[in-house]
Symmetry: C2
Subunit: 523 residues, 2 copies
């Protein structure tokens, strides 16, 4: 929580020291005309919010064990996986795997509690787990939207733009994965252009393809060209999203990608994808039970593939409208699932992924913001380690929004500031200021304010705090309209980070050869 | 946190039992065509979020004691107050009062840790303090705004409309006070119409006038007509907002109102009104120190007026833009102040007021929603007991917005659901559902879903979760546009609660007589 010394208990990448020097760095960045200050990943100082006590957590764990033992999980169309489970001591019947009590937890003892995902720029490497929180952009939308051109299918140009925006965003610590689907490129080849865009247009860590085992292998191959074969063998340079086909099914596609990445020592996020009421029970405790059982099975399986392979407990939990079946976001029940799942992950000693800036709204209006904030704040306060969909998510994840992207980044930067907690240094205590000013005066000109005002308060590049009259005079713009100007500014100021020419050539050659080796497929 | 029994540990007014019966009540309300289900005040089950540890809290308390002892607080233009402090053992020099260490805390031992504010409908009485949270609408705006008529000065019609909307809102537990300034009525008479509107058009608890001692006295007089003289003497029926003129000044107006209410055994909220950087230091810890010192002095003074009088520790903390001096909302620093102040209030054994749905935005756009959500969630998770400005606040508090009012009420209802925590009953655990459905199926039709779907998930009356195509077909409405329809629906469905005719006559006569006794004043 608070500390009374400028440096006590805070890693040099983390909070207080960075805050102390933030102003100077920002001024330097401004003078040199370079892009804005990049923030390191968050090291949380605030304690995590809990929603379940020991008794409640133990009850859910016991129920999850019962699910694993009595009902079991299906591993479909993957005889190898079934054989691996048989050899590990599970009971396999058809594609159904039932787990003796304690087996999954025993296997998970080799999984790292925290690990580093390396970026090609070592300054952008991130820690996954523990007190670290990493923000990554939206993943998966087939559509994009901006105020000028409206809603349309995503293209590789949009994909590159979104990678560039993530690179520009100070509080996005990660370049993400499928920031939108580039539907102008054949489905069996687009993963190459996506991975290349992350490498070429950013130096932040990124994600590999999971839509087929060979695309996962291509992602690993490209990573090896950037980081070197041996480095990749020993270190995590890719984090990859493995969704459970809830309830209680792993399908062949995801198992194929999982095995490829785990055997290559790369990170996987095992994520039950839940619209509660459809893919899980309509209750919070029931959903948590199923999520835990699914994660235990899937995460343990990574350790069968390669003991020690990094694995993250994920949840994606929304609920559905019981009238229409449509997913809803920012509502209380998924929030409780998020908090509870974070607690369960900590007890499993696994890093935790969930949340983001999720919403159902079609446009960047108040609904989008309420829903996103009501997802993001719990995400951070729960102590989530890896936050996918932290920026750009619109319309239930069908759309990557340019305006939403920069609006969310503003919120992320505020969450980062909040996570630093209260500065209790002598300067933070400000007793000199209170003495100097005294009753009935004001602090605007006092020495302490003069010394601190540049970095004292978070400044939003999106919010308008001017008077009503000034706001009118400036065109009565909504936040969405101001955000439209901001992403254009970020793109205009974008400068690509340097990339070794030999590496670039090798990547391009690999992509060309691989593409030439197969016909185009569009579905 | 969670409970394993339907009724364990939950008061009958509070969470679980209400949830179990909520569906049936809602259906009854729907059938009978009556207004929507009213929710009782919140009894929080979730633990409070902390940002300071024991060491940090003790440091701030020690610094606040130093402020009280060495710098002191000014009680201006009120010789009686100075004399009272002198007799209590404080050191008085001019208008400056310095407090021997421990004096204020000693005086506060007679203040109640929790108390009931009675409503004229006993079902609407609220508990203030402890695990209770009460939502009250916006207080103070001179302007109102709606989509049809834009921004304009508030009138008594607007005031009555906002009281009616608060009456209709299930998750507003309180009718509030100056929901807008009715500027069409003379400033020295409008308090009579405001208090009357709360009594006549609602049966929820409400607030008295504080703008002059005689207006406070009028408020008490009107309350006595409703509740009876003896009842008011023994019980709190009015809560009243006493702002500190920060830094470290109580002015004669506020002291006059404070004395009137405290001596009448009515509740006061002693609230340092802080735009940090102007009225307090630019740091969180410095602001907390000053807030605590001011509250200690003001709250202790209520106990000099009448030992045992209900008093609430308040904070209103925003920060200012260091470029323009304009207040900003929903940013990290005021959030930390809010969390920290809630912790300090609990250590003082005083109920706590802060937060709300605050924003700087001029319209109900994404900025308004982000800022409001980033204030409201911390307000609730900090364990705030009395939440003023919970609905309708726009443009830094200059505007009461009709659309924002109902949008905020939607968020409040979600916060109420969230505060109930996780249902760990057998039905909540849903093991039967998991067994029934099994791997690869879905929960839509299972027995457990059928039994629970009506009350399982919060349903927003504002959010649109439909498909993009359906949303387009319905006119591509923003949340603000949908909210416009919702407040009109609430007003159309409004039915006044019954009021004893004799009481109504007495109130009207009192208002007429009082108004006739003085000339109109408009400033």
């Amino acid at each position: 929580m608070g500390t009374t010394d400028e440096t006590a208990g805070v890693d040099e990448r983390g909070g207080r020291r960075r805050r102390a020097s933030g102003g100077a760095e920002a001024r330097r960045a401004k003078r040199s005309g370079s892009r804005s200050l990049q923030l390191p990943f968050i090291r949380r100082i605030l304690p995590e919010q809990a929603v379940l006590d020991e008794e409640g957590l133990a009850l859910i764990e016991q129920n999850a064990d019962t699910v694993l033992e009595e009902i079991g999980i299906e591993f479909r169309e993957d005889p190898e996986a079934l054989q691996m489970w048989r050899e590990a001591g599970a009971e396999v019947s058809g594609e159904r795997v039932r787990f003796p009590k304690g087996l999954c937890r025993e296997l998970l003892k080799t999984a790292p509690q925290t690990f580093t995902q390396h970026a090609r720029n070592p300054e952008r490497s991130v820690e996954i787990g523990g007190k670290a929180t990493v923000f990554a952009p939206v993943y998966g939308p087939p559509f994009v939207r901006d105020l000028d051109n409206g809603r349309r299918y995503g293209t590789i140009d949009d994909f590159q733009n979104l990678v560039k925006l993530a690179y520009q965003a100070p509080a996005l610590h990660h370049s993400g994965g499928t920031v939108c689907e580039p539907v102008d490129i054949p489905v069996n080849k687009r993963h190459l252009d996506m991975v290349y865009a992350h490498i070429r247009y950013s130096d932040k860590p990124f994600m590999g393809s999971v839509t087929a085992p060979e695309r996962a292998a291509d992602s690993v191959a490209m990573a090896r060209m950037v980081f070197g074969e041996e480095f990749v063998e020993q270190n995590c340079v890719l984090i990859n999203l493995i969704n459970v086909n809830s309830p209680m099914v792993f399908d062949a596609t995801m198992l194929g990608a999982l095995k490829t990445y785990a055997r290559a020592n790369q990170g996987t996020i095992v994520t039950p994808f839940i619209l509660a009421g459809a893919m899980s029970p309509v209750t919070v405790a029931g959903t948590l039970t199923q999520v835990l059982a699914e994660v235990l099975a899937g995460a343990a399986f990574t350790q069968l593939c390669r003991p020690g392979a990094p694995v993250i407990m994920g949840t994606f939990a929304s609920s559905i409208s019981m009238q229409s079946g449509a997913p809803t976001f920012g509502t209380p029940e998924p929030t409780l699932v998020l908090y509870g799942a974070a607690q369960l992950a900590r007890r499993l000693n696994l890093p935790f992924r969930s949340g983001g800036s999720l919403c159902a709204s079609k446009v960047c209006d108040a609904q989008a913001a309420y829903e996103s904030a009501q997802t993001l704040t719990p995400t951070v306060m729960a102590g989530t380690n890896f936050v996918l969909h932290a920026a750009g998510w619109l319309e239930g994840g069908l759309v990557s929004s340019y305006e939403k992207f920069v609006m969310d980044c503003d919120q992320l930067a505020m969450m980062q500031q909040l996570s630093r907690g209260v500065d209790l240094s002598e300067n933070g205590q400000a007793m000199d200021a209170i003495r100097e000013v005294g009753p009935g005066s004001h602090y605007l000109g006092c020495a302490h304010t003069q010394a601190n005002f540049e970095t004292a308060f978070y400044r939003s590049p999106v919010a308008d705090n001017n008077s009503f009259e000034q706001w009118l005079a400036e065109g009565s713009k909504t936040a969405e309209e101001r955000a439209n100007g901001l992403w254009k500014k970020w793109l205009a100021e974008y400068e690509a980070p340097p990339l070794d020419e030999g590496v670039d050539e090798a990547l391009k050659e690999f992509i060309e050869t691989t593409k030439a080796s197969m016909p185009d497929a569009f579905s």
